[in-house]
């Protein structure tokens, strides 16, 4: 994300870019994506201990750096650019965000410092057969109070679900609908009554799991049945961070395509001098400038009434824009672009899977429409 940064922010970004290019070059990305845990534990702890990245969005009293969404977007952007396989998004952005907004102060004090210092956390939300990343269609039931928070059911496509030790699970009170009646539970893995099963992901740089709950005990975060509004805020912030991550990747593939169009010659000319190629690059540039502006607009509106709408606008645009950019990158590279050894397909896979993450463009357009309807 290179769009109106303060000097400190630009320096922070440059530091991260150097750090990831040294610690996680493409070869390491490929090595890590073939492992079960999917990340390099020593890089992960350097990120926490030396750079303090896992604490970026948390208050200092929670072991964090006290930064805002701006800095979180910078980290996400650089992770997306270098395609660093690690549980940052699941742990810091998703679970950390939910804890920040939903948990009680005592729970935040207990959990956020652990995440900030590198404990892996995640959020289990989607359910099998649901087919969409959508909190309002959750069916897993909140257990009765007398029941020690014993959870039953299945959660699907849980990011880093086999490696996370702190797991947050969203359930709903029987009979409730939409954003009403939602609760977030917290449990520590491994735990009796929960089996994680690794799923094969199309984008191997982001690990997925299915969690089978069979009476695992949990504690409710904050007030039972009342997590909805705070959960929505947390998910909207995660949406903006995800968009920043996508734009980080988009910038990389765009630069890569433009470089190739400049240097590759066919028919005695650089291929970038042909309008078919030049206009593809121009279209990605237009998409990219729009994406950056959308993220900045959403980021700057954090906390305001317009934030949910702007977050959805950003995702509706970035979903398709990033994927298109990765396709054009492959197409501009011609044959080279679709070899296994060239990185283009890793970004294409990431872009394709990011389309679904936190809701696809259709879902966000529907949400935008319903917001417009409410104001009409």
């Amino acid at each position: 994300m290179a769009f109106i940064l303060s000097e400190e922010q630009a320096e922070f970004r440059d530091t991260l870019r150097r750090f990831f290019s040294e610690t996680t070059p493409s070869d390491d990305v490929r090595r890590l994506m073939d492992t079960a845990e999917g990340y390099d534990a020593s890089v992960w702890s350097t990120m926490a201990e030396e750079l303090g990245l896992q604490g970026v969005p948390f208050d200092e009293r929670h072991g964090g750096q006290g930064f805002g969404l701006d800095e979180l977007c910078i980290v996400a952007g650089e992770l997306g650019r270098a395609l660093v396989p690690c549980p940052y998004f699941a742990s810091v952005v998703l679970a950390g965000g939910v804890l920040k907004h939903v948990a009680s102060e005592a729970q935040r004090e207990a959990l956020l410092p652990r995440i900030a210092s590198g404990a892996v956390a995640t959020l289990a939300l989607v359910e099998p057969g649901q087919g969409r990343w959508d909190a309002t269609s959750i069916r897993m039931e909140t257990p009765p109070e007398a029941d020690d928070g014993r959870l039953t059911g299945i959660k699907d496509v849980v990011l880093d679900g086999t490696t996370a030790e702190i797991i947050l699970v969203v359930t709903r009170s029987p009979g409730s609908r939409g954003w009403e009646g939602l609760s977030v539970h917290w449990l520590e893995a491994p735990i009796e009554g929960m089996q994680p099963k690794a799923l094969q992901p199309m984008d191997a740089t982001r690990k997925l799991a299915r969690l089978h709950f069979n009476g695992a005990r949990s504690q409710v975060l904050g007030q039972p049945g009342e997590a909805g509004p705070a959960l929505q805020v947390a998910l909207d912030e995660a949406l903006v961070a995800l968009c920043a991550e996508m734009v980080g990747g988009m910038e990389f593939v765009h630069e890569s395509a433009v470089d190739y169009a400049r240097s590759r010659h066919q028919f005695g000319r650089p291929i970038g001098s042909f309008q078919a190629i030049k206009h593809k690059c121009a279209d990605v540039q237009i998409d990219l400038e729009g994406a950056r502006a959308a993220i900045c607009a959403a980021r700057d509106a954090a906390g305001s009434d317009e934030f949910p709408l702007l977050a959805s606008i950003a995702k509706a645009h970035c979903s398709d824009a990033y994927y298109r950019a990765t396709q054009e990158n492959v197409q501009i590279h011609g044959g080279v672009g679709f070899t296994w050894e060239y990185d283009a397909h890793l970004y294409l896979r990431r872009a394709k899977s990011s389309q679904q993450l936190l809701g696809d463009a259709d879902q966000h357009r529907e949400r935008i429409a319903r917001t417009l309807e409410a104001h009409a």
């Binding site: 769009f3 109106i4 433009v258 169009a261 400049r262 000319r269 650089p270 970038g272 001098s273 309008q275 190629i277 030049k278 206009h279 690059c281 121009a282 279209d283 540039q285 237009i286 400038e289 729009g290 502006a293 959308a294 900045c296 607009a297 700057d300 509106a301 702007l310 606008i313 509706a316 645009h317 259709d362 357009r365 529907e366 935008i368 429409a369 319903r370 417009l372 309807e373 104001h375 009409a376």
Partner: protein, 412 residues
Amino acid sequence: MQRSDTPEQAEFRTEVREWLEAHAEPRKGEGDWSNGPREHTPEAEAAYFERCREWQRTRFDGGFACITWPEKYGGRGGTPVQEIIYGQEEAHFDVTAGFLPASISLVGPALMRHGSVEQCKRYLRPLMRGEETWCQLFSEPDAGSDLAAVRTRAERDGDEFVVNGQKLWTTSAQHCDYGILLARTNAEAPKHAGITFLLVDMKIPGIEVRPLITMKGDRHFNEVFFTDVRVDVANVCGEIDRGWAVAKTTLANESMMIGTGTQTQGTTASLVQYAMDHGRWEDPLVRQRVAEAYVQERLLGFLRDRLQEAVLEGRMPDVDGSVMKILWSESRTLRAEVGLDIQGTDGLLAGDDAFDHAYWQQLVLDRSMGSVGGGTLEVHRNGIGERVLGLAREPRADRDVAFRDLKTSTEG
């Protein structure tokens, strides 16, 4: 997005607002005169043009025209920040100077940078005050995207040039007093090297203006014919045969302006209302498309905010003019299509039988103007590729060749 003004900015904003309240009526809605001539008749269009002139004069006399221009030329000597603040405030009032500010900022910088002291003295003030209005005589039948291919000849005869040829797409020529003219003074030189930039009185003999009716029916453009028109060499702006450099000063501003104009009508929100009123809103396809149009519209707005914010905060804008122009054109097209499509069979109608007085039908027909006028979308995509991304230009067949030896359509 609400920014907080600095104290100086707030003070200027108050000054502007008070002045506007004293001189103009607040904006009311679709029926405002400033939304353009209501009918496509020559009379209605001329009356509208007169009101635009009047407002330009009022603005100038109030000290709010050409805010950033140097005081020595009659400008305010103000900042781009003040220009933006003025624009933000003016948008709340039922006033417009129409095409004049665009025309003024095409002519003015060329004069100030390349014109003689006498030319500046003679022309700048009446230009800024809207007393004398100017048109741009650049495009020709064979010089469209390839603007440097002008064939209109200006042949030297003593202290005069004798001009013969035809210009095309001249905005508002029928209402204008003067024109800036590109004419070929040397056909032996390569294409870009034999052009001269002339200041021409539109009322002298031999100039004939014929309005061109566009597909939606208005008289925005004209053809202008020159037959043995005599122009004094004193009216050369810049140097003889070096007019392309002057023209480039003019062209640099043009696409930016078209891309950044404020769009107050036809926003997506009014589509939501339409769809709800007509029972179309429960169709998820309609909701998707309206949302898509809305996203595009907001993206453009975000970029415009960025641009203005950069200026307000004293940074270099990091948004490219061609990007703005393409997004503007595409978002307008999308909105027009969605707006018409959700009307279903009602969209088949026109005039007063159609919804919103056929506003959406007109917008659909107008879309082509948006993607050709001010440079085609293709030309702007080339610009982004070459200027922003540093991709190589096309091999050029028309450099270093005498103009008269170049292939043109008319021979084809």
